[in-house]
C-alpha cells in the first residue's frame, strides 16, 4: 500500500484547473463543485466569443498548460509555448465545441502539438534526419503520455470531495469497495457509483484530448 496521493485526503480543496480556493464541504456530496461550475461557465463563454473569457480560461488552466509544458521543456520554452497555446486558442476558439469535450482537454491538445514541434525543431538541430525520425516517434509517445497523465490528474482535481476520496482509497490505497464503504459509512453501492462517476470524468477528459 502506498501513501495517499497529495491533495486527495479528506477535507481537501477542489483543485479543478487552478481554482484552488474553494473548499468542498463534506456535506455537499453529489453536488457539482463550484470550481466545476466555474469551468463550465468559462467553457461556454470562451466558445461564445466572450472577450474576457481568455483571462478566465488562463486563470483556470494556465497552470495546467504550463505544468504540462514544463514536463518536457525548459522554463524559457515552456513559457513561450504556454503563451502560444492561449493565443492560438483565442484565434481558433470557433473550433472549440464544449459539447465535444472540455476546454482543458482542447488546450492540452494544442499544447501537445506545440511541445512536439518545439522538441522536433531542437532535435533537427542536433541529429541527422534518420535519427531524428526515430526520435520523433519516442518524443510524440512521451509527450502524449504526459498529456494523458495531466488529464487524469485534472479529472481528479475536478471531482467533488467524496468521489475523489473514494478513487484515492481504491486506486492509491488499494482498499476494497467494502473497506471504503466502512470507512466512509456509506452503502457499498455508493462507493461503486462514485468510482464509476470518476472513471467517466477521466474518460471525458481524455476524449477531449484525443477526439
Amino acid at each position: 500500500m502506498r501513501p495517499s496521493a497529495v491533495g486527495l485526503d479528506s477535507g481537501q480543496r477542489s483543485q479543478c484547473g487552478t481554482d484552488r480556493g474553494v473548499v468542498i464541504s463534506h456535506y455537499a456530496f453529489g453536488v457539482p463543485s463550484p470550481a466545476s461550475q466555474s469551468a463550465d461557465n468559462v467553457e461556454q463563454a470562451f466558445a461564445g466569443g466572450d472577450e474576457d473569457a481568455l483571462r478566465a480560461a488562463y486563470e483556470l488552466y494556465g497552470a495546467l498548460v504550463y505544468t504540462y509544458c514544463r514536463r518536457s521543456l525548459d522554463e524559457s520554452r515552456a513559457k513561450d509555448v504556454t503563451q502560444e497555446v492561449f493565443i492560438r486558442a483565442l484565434r481558433n476558439r470557433g473550433q472549440y465545441k464544449p459539447h465535444k469535450g472540455t476546454l482543458a482537454g482542447w488546450l492540452i491538445a494544442i499544447a501537445k502539438n506545440r511541445i512536439i514541434d518545439n522538441i522536433r525543431a531542437e532535435q533537427r538541430h542536433e541529429k541527422r534526419r534518420s535519427e531524428a525520425d526515430l526520435g520523433e516517434v519516442a518524443v510524440e509517445a512521451q509527450v502524449d503520455q504526459a498529456g494523458d497523465r495531466m488529464m487524469v490528474a485534472e479529472a481528479l482535481r475536478c471531482l467533488s470531495d467524496r468521489p475523489r476520496r473514494v478513487i484515492a482509497m481504491h486506486y492509491f490505497d488499494d482498499l476494497t469497495h467494502s473497506q471504503i464503504a466502512d470507512r466512509l459509512s456509506v452503502p457499498i453501492g455508493t462507493v461503486k457509483s462514485d468510482l464509476r462517476r470518476g472513471l467517466l470524468q477521466i474518460r471525458r477528459q481524455l476524449e477531449s484530448v484525443h477526439g
Partner: protein, 215 residues
C-alpha cells in the same frame, strides 16, 4: 482521429490511475510574465487587424515571407471561396485540394522542376493533408523538406503559419493538421527547405505553394 486512445477501456484508465504519481497532481503556476506576453500579443493583434503577428515571430528571429502580388490576389480570392465549406465533417473525405506552384521570382531554385498537389481530408473536427502527384527534389545534406500551412492577411502576406511536418521527397504521405489550426484560416500550403539549424521559423526557402480550394 485517435480512436484507439479516445475509446480506451476502463481497465486502461484504471492502469493510468494506479500509475499516477502524487507529484503529478501538483500544478506549477506560470511566471507572471507569461500572461503579460499573452496580453501584449492579443493587444498587438487588436491594434493591427489583418496583420496578426505570431508570438514566435516576436520572440525569435523574424523571417517574414512575402507572397508575390499575383499570388496575393489569388490567395485573397481563394480565401473567399475556401471559407465556405471546409467544416463539413463527413468521415475522412476530401473536402479541398490544391495545386502547388513554383514562383521563379521568390522561391528557391531547387523547386524549379518540382511539382505536387494536395488533398485536404476532414474527419470530424480533424484534418489531414495528403501530398499527391509529387515530384519533389531532395534538399542538400543537413536540410529537410517541410510542409506548412499559412494564414495570409488581407494583402496576401503571411499573418501566421504552422509546420505540419517533414516531407519525405520519395514518400510525402499524409500529414496531420495540428489541433487548434483551422484550415479555413490557414488555407495556403507551402513546402520549404529547412536547414537543421534549430530555428523553428520558416527559412524563407519555399519551393512550392498553393491555396486549398473547396471541391
Amino acid at each position: 482521429m485517435d480512436e484507439e486512445r479516445a475509446g480506451r477501456t476502463d481497465s486502461a484508465i484504471e492502469a493510468l490511475l494506479r500509475d499516477l504519481d502524487a507529484a503529478e497532481l501538483e500544478l506549477i503556476d506560470p511566471p507572471e510574465d507569461v500572461w503579460e506576453g499573452i496580453e501584449s500579443a492579443v493587444q498587438a493583434a487588436d491594434d493591427a487587424p489583418g496583420a496578426v503577428i505570431a508570438l514566435e515571430f516576436r520572440r525569435r528571429k523574424v523571417r517574414r515571407i512575402m507572397l508575390s502580388a499575383a499570388a496575393a490576389l489569388v490567395l485573397v480570392a481563394a480565401g473567399v471561396a475556401a471559407a465556405v465549406t471546409l467544416t463539413r465533417d463527413d468521415p475522412a473525405r476530401v473536402i479541398a485540394s490544391a495545386e502547388l506552384a513554383y514562383d521563379p521570382a521568390s522561391f528557391d531554385e531547387l523547386g524549379a522542376q518540382a511539382r505536387a498537389g494536395a488533398e485536404l481530408f476532414a474527419e470530424d473536427d480533424r484534418h489531414s493533408i495528403k501530398i499527391v502527384d509529387a515530384l519533389l527534389p531532395s534538399p542538400e545534406d543537413g536540410a529537410d523538406l517541410e510542409a506548412w500551412l499559412i494564414q495570409p492577411d488581407e494583402e496576401g502576406n503571411v499573418a501566421d503559419l504552422v509546420s505540419i511536418g517533414l516531407v519525405d521527397p520519395d514518400d510525402p504521405g499524409r500529414l496531420e493538421v495540428p489541433a487548434g489550426y483551422d484550415p479555413k484560416a490557414f488555407f495556403v500550403l507551402d513546402i520549404s527547405i529547412e536547414p537543421r539549424d534549430g530555428d523553428t521559423s520558416h527559412s524563407g526557402r519555399s519551393i512550392l505553394r498553393g491555396p486549398l480550394r473547396e471541391l
